[in-house]
Symmetry: D2
Subunit: 348 residues, 4 copies
């Protein structure tokens, strides 16, 4: 069993990650940190008490104790804020631990951090070493060397890149003038209190947020730029009155010869061997088919003016914790779906 | 009192229209048609029984009897399917009735109907006579001559045009390459049964629909083309898990000199005297502030690559029945907010 | 115009009350207090800017300034916590103002306060003078004398009493062993932040709360005890994933001769002249028909073992602010529906 | 592997049952019937394509072909209407198949069927042979003999019996005058179309249904009567605006000496060895902790007048398909949680 520590296990992504680790046939939960829940039973909090073989004696430890537990684990999943991950990830990696960071701390280049994350990057040397963990588009080291650092993609970036990536890579669309209109359930913002996140404020409401200023913009641009020069992209995030699920509707101008049939073929070819990506008509890439699972649904169409590509994921699974486990499966050379295939969608 | 007949009063828009008429100080409900509810009390069905002075004796009449009641009304509101409105509207107008049609039957030019609505237009001569009823952008005849026909705008078109119209008109954005990403509550599709519209299918789900084929696309293009040549626009509709409310997020390339400040000023100038349009930051143009009211909230921002403009409305009020009443107010020379200002938003 | 001050106007009930006052033909908003919004425009915050004749210059004043504005009003509506109302209400009443208190500060007898509200009552003499403001069951003074104090009923109490009151009064059910199972939207708890009230925590969840300890229990018992001796009642509150609306399902043992037909007749007779109460079959007393309006729907059935009576209201209107305005209408001798009849239900 | 056929696999419960079978380590899906989906891929429809080892070649067969596939299975799960199950179950059982019937066809005694289910029972001899499949309260044969028939409990009955059963059995409450107030998500009614089940009709609504006439009433009475004589019980079902989840709030008069502590102890003792039942404070028995899992949460409190006991389950899992698989686990002598423990709750 590979021993996994989860740092920040009381947030939404961290809690889902801890559950996935605990129920994974080849991973075991070495420790879980949470200041809020320090001293409480991990199994009880995560609702894992009935899992056959679940260790019900493990207690949450404070976040500050994370590094002290470094020797107790082979892998650490960081479900922490970007500025915390920026310091913890190198510390764990330098001890030879495999690190999967769910924050944005290692997704951009150093100069981008002050503008998009509000801080100077404290470990810029690690930015070049980090592997962007979207295995359907970017290869991961297999097996992972000691001290490998994976920058797990952002939720919006995952959906947008899965929908757009092959089209940009194969030259079917112009790299400039791309629009990504993203819509996410509220867990995408992390565990929040405050009246703005109250049921009364969110139910029945939809709105854009961080217009022209969302930090997933440079992340998507950077990833697409590995496929084509001259990427320019506008991204708008919207908050939906759902707990989980994310849809990215992407618009790009077609190059000569690009047709609806060709964009669909392109997606099919790109994901023929990807167990977690399904190509469907764009109006069937919907939240209800993915929420509760690690699947992404993507679909695209085109006319003479525009290519429209849609991607749908569960933001906590394929958009965060599920993708982290998938990345561990890939780097260990296991079946990519191990510990993830049993997840059943919420919509009956 | 102006006597108003509502045809198709059991649909969502028709029912809201009938309530607005009944509670309007200068309008009275002359008749209401519904095959499903024929013979039943209008006041009871609409929950109007307690309105002081409400006429509780009126019964729904069958749709086929609408024209027989033509002499009993001064105005007719058609909340009928486009192919039905196409025949009824001229018949009422030719008798000198003012007609406000909530369908798309008179919003396009004749050649567009087979592709976008699936039928040849049976009254093409009336297309040129119809007034597009978005009074904040397009003047209506005041007073309305006998037999005036108003094509009440589509819900997506209303939100998109209020957000984009002034920017196109004032030359702040390129007319080509516009993207409108619309998100609507399910009442936008009219009263529906069928499992696809069941609570279980819709709750927690979000999806695009009619990708590259929604009939509001040519409507928005036609209206914007009154402001600029060369409009090219891609529109995608999405279905939200909310009953009411619609958001249009619009993307257009800025012309030289266009800044965030200038687009905001442009909207403020355009709507300085519009009682139902409020200009706000784009992330405050949200459903919760408009649902239950006839208000539209619009907001825009810009960087060097893109102008993003957002419009939010209640699809049944400013996007349908409320706008119809507003149009009647305008054409009668009344206060534009008469019978509409008392509407209070649902979100407390 | 009667001038009304609203104290605590940034809470849900207070904001709804201020809107109702502003749009009422014979009431005007004298002042509105809110610490959070002090200095901001009342009209802007309440979305009233478009109301014809709305005063857009009024600003919120701090709560502590409420009494300083006592001379500026004829009536004060207190949308404050019970311990605040307990002190403010007598102060205003002693100056001759009519006071409608939306809290529980004047609904019980003095000895009940420590157990159910956690404080000794500071103005016990006023408890006997307060009028319980449920006008369909308990008469209010008409006209109200100077300094009249109305204890506006709790939301659960309103629904339960409207459903059960006539049955207890007419002796159709045993007064002992009554069960009230209440289900309320989350606005019933007032404006809340905190993760427990977040969208993620509430959406899809339903739970009981304050089991065997909810403060509306003694309120319902006290009111029913005006109709019969020996009332014993168990009340359980439940939190629903809806913003507005409340259902009370009430169970009482039938007395000899009580049948389904008789309980229905009893309700019809009780509410024949009540403009805001409609008697319907019990499965039609549902939230969707009342939310957004001041109506209560009640219905009952019975078999040999049990009478089941259901009441449905909008907790912010008939359960709080709407009822407060209705009480003002009654005490002023106006049409009971004045300023309330135009409210249109949210569900189309 | 035990081969399981699922009849009626396109309904909500049937689809969940088929997924559970497919992902169970000792069960395999022998066939699945559905008239609507006949000929389509089972794995594709159920979203199982990525399950390691999932058989992607299986197609739905028409319901009428179910019996023809009897030899291909060891166990049949009937997710069919009661009148269909009434005929199919004996036919399969007589061939020696183990039958778990999710309908109400074998839960009552013969004379009750005309009143509660609207038909005369066609196989009354089997009513006495059927095992009521609530293994925490009623033992199942272990191992199951050939041709065993399990009447899987109704969803409301499961929640109510788990909360109330031990209290009645241990004599802590009076068996007469019990009230069960049930609240269920809309999947409890099965897959429905029709405007009454549309999103617009259900969202924001709550209502009682089948007041004094719900068919789970005699089922609960019959099961409790195995513990005490003189059971009299009133049950009211309510429809919630959630897809999944069910809460039963139960009221019973305490016997002398019954206290809050004793009812809690009683529940703890009853479920000490039940892996899927957790005893919690009654306000923590909430939907969000059980939806997506096979767990039931129960809690109770008491004062001198009343015992209040609450039970919460996922109506499709512990209330239907999950319980069916649990029953198979028990009858096969396997770990009771096999194939069920991995289910993770929806609420993060």
């Amino acid at each position: 069993m590979i021993r996994v520590g989860v740092v920040g296990a009381s947030g939404y992504s961290g809690a889902v990650a801890a559950r996935l680790v605990e129920s994974h046939p080849r991973l075991s939960l070495a420790f879980a940190t949470s200041d809020k829940l320090a001293g409480e039973s991990v199994a009880a909090h995560l609702g894992l008490a009935a899992v056959a073989g679940a260790d019900t004696s493990t207690r949450f430890v404070p976040n500050a104790a994370a590094l002290d537990h470094g020797d107790a684990c082979d892998v650490v999943l960081l479900a922490t804020a970007a500025d915390v991950s920026m310091r913890l990830a190198p510390a764990f990696a330098e001890r030879g631990r495999t690190v999967v960071d769910l924050s944005g701390a290692f997704r951009l280049e150093a100069p981008a951090y002050p503008r998009w994350y509000g801080f100077e990057h404290a470990a810029p040397a690690w930015l070049g070493r980090a592997h962007y963990g979207l295995p359907e588009l970017f290869p991961l080291p297999r097996p992972a060397p000691a001290g490998a650092l994976v920058a797990n993609p952002g939720c919006y970036a995952t959906a947008a890149l899965l929908a757009l990536g092959p089209l940009v890579r194969e030259g079917l669309v112009e790299p400039a003038g791309i629009v990504v209109d993203g819509k996410s359930g509220v867990t995408g913002a992390g565990r929040q209190s405050g009246e703005a996140h109250s049921f009364v404020a969110i139910d029945g409401d939809v709105r854009a947020y961080r217009v022209l200023g969302h930090q997933h913009t440079p992340e998507i641009v950077r990833a697409l730029s590995r496929f084509a020069a001259g990427v320019k992209l506008t991204f708008t995030a919207h908050l939906l009155p759902v707990a989980r699920g994310l849809l990215a509707t992407c618009y790009a101008r077609p190059r000569a010869g690009t047709t609806a049939a060709r964009v669909t073929e392109c997606l099919h070819a790109a994901y023929a061997k990807a167990p977690f990506v399904r190509v469907v008509p764009p109006d069937e890439a919907r939240l209800s088919r993915v929420v509760g699972t690690n699947f992404a649904l993507v679909g695209a169409s085109a006319d003479e003016d525009m290519v429209v590509a849609v991607g749908a994921i569960d933001n906590l699974l394929k958009g965060a914790a599920g993708q982290a486990v998938q990345n561990l499966n890939v780097m260990n050379g296991w079946d990519e779906t191990l510990g993830l295939a049993h997840l059943q969608r919420v919509s009956p």
